[in-house]
């Protein structure tokens, strides 16, 4: 068994100890564990974020394998549990809290009160707007990093991170909607996930601008 100390020493030591200490103390809540959320959670776990709260109601479907972090062995299992297992194989010392529930208007307060860094990674644009509006209206201390616009095979370079509001960062091209005829593929979804994960790390290190 690899120990916590071994894993900590195996981090890129060209960064100072303080950087990893900040990551270790940090807590990030990820809402939605699809193509964005599953990949973001793994990137944050690899970076040594101390606590991840993972929220999703769904189970892994065979149609998720084209872009989400799951494997055939995870089909029909809750995404929360599958992702907990995958992260455990990368770094078993990351604290993982899972909530297997659908986020609704009614349970927003129960699920997000006290969360200071929230990663919005839903699929449905109305749910994206619901969560972002709730957090900006009701939780004045919370910063949100959201994903919007990563469908298709358009130029990778159109996917950006923008600070759209005081406490809202949006990653994506903000245009490429997923619909019949334009689906989601691993590369652009992963690029967008990388933007979101990096912005979250930047916020933890005190970098406020996109």
């Amino acid at each position: 068994m690899v120990t916590r100390e071994q894993l900590e020493q195996a981090m890129d030591q060209r960064f100072s100890k303080e950087v990893y200490e900040k990551f270790k103390q940090a807590r990030i809540c990820i809402a939605g564990l699809g193509g964005l959320g599953s990949n973001i959670a793994i990137m944050l776990a690899r970076s040594g974020i101390g606590t991840l709260k993972l929220i999703d109601f769904d189970v892994v479907d065979i149609t998720n394998l084209n872009r989400q972090a799951y494997r055939i062995e995870h089909i029909d299992r809750p995404k929360t549990e599958a992702l907990r297992e995958i992260i455990g194989e990368i770094n078993p010392y990351i604290k993982i809290e899972v909530i297997q529930k659908k986020v609704t208007e009614e349970n927003l307060a129960e699920l997000f009160t006290g969360e200071q860094l929230v990663c919005e990674a839903f699929d449905n644009p109305e749910y994206k707007a619901m969560l972002v509006n709730y957090l900006l209206e009701q939780q004045p201390e919370t910063i949100v990093v959201s994903g919007s616009g990563m469908a298709g095979v358009g130029s990778s370079n159109r996917i950006c991170t923008r600070q759209k509001m005081k406490r809202l960062y949006v990653c994506g091209d903000e245009e490429s909607d997923a619909y019949a005829g334009m689906g989601l593929l691993s590369p652009r979804v992963s690029i967008c996930a990388g933007h979101q994960a990096n912005m979250l790390l930047r916020l933890i290190l005190g970098e406020k601008e996109s």
């Binding site: 964005l36 994206k128 707007a129 616009g149 509001m165 809202l168 903000e174 989601l184």
Partner: protein, 65 residues
């Protein structure tokens, strides 16, 4: 003059946020709106009237994740 998403827009003062969103082709269920640096609560879109020198930021979410 009102500034919306970084562009100057004329003749919009006096309209509600709700009316502006419809006229500009937004689906209000998919947006978040900031006015002069403060989030506009969804429940207030009908009541909040755009005034001279306002700065608005409208974020419209698209599907996929």
């Amino acid at each position: 003059m009102v500034r919306i998403n970084g562009e100057d827009i004329e003749n919009i003062e006096g309209k509600s946020i709700a009316r502006y969103l419809v006229e500009a082709g937004y689906d209000s269920r998919r947006v978040a709106v900031e006015r002069n640096g403060a989030i506009v609560p969804k429940a207030s879109y009908e009541e909040v009237i755009i005034s001279e020198a306002d700065t608005l930021e409208v974020v419209s979410f698209v599907g996929g994740g």
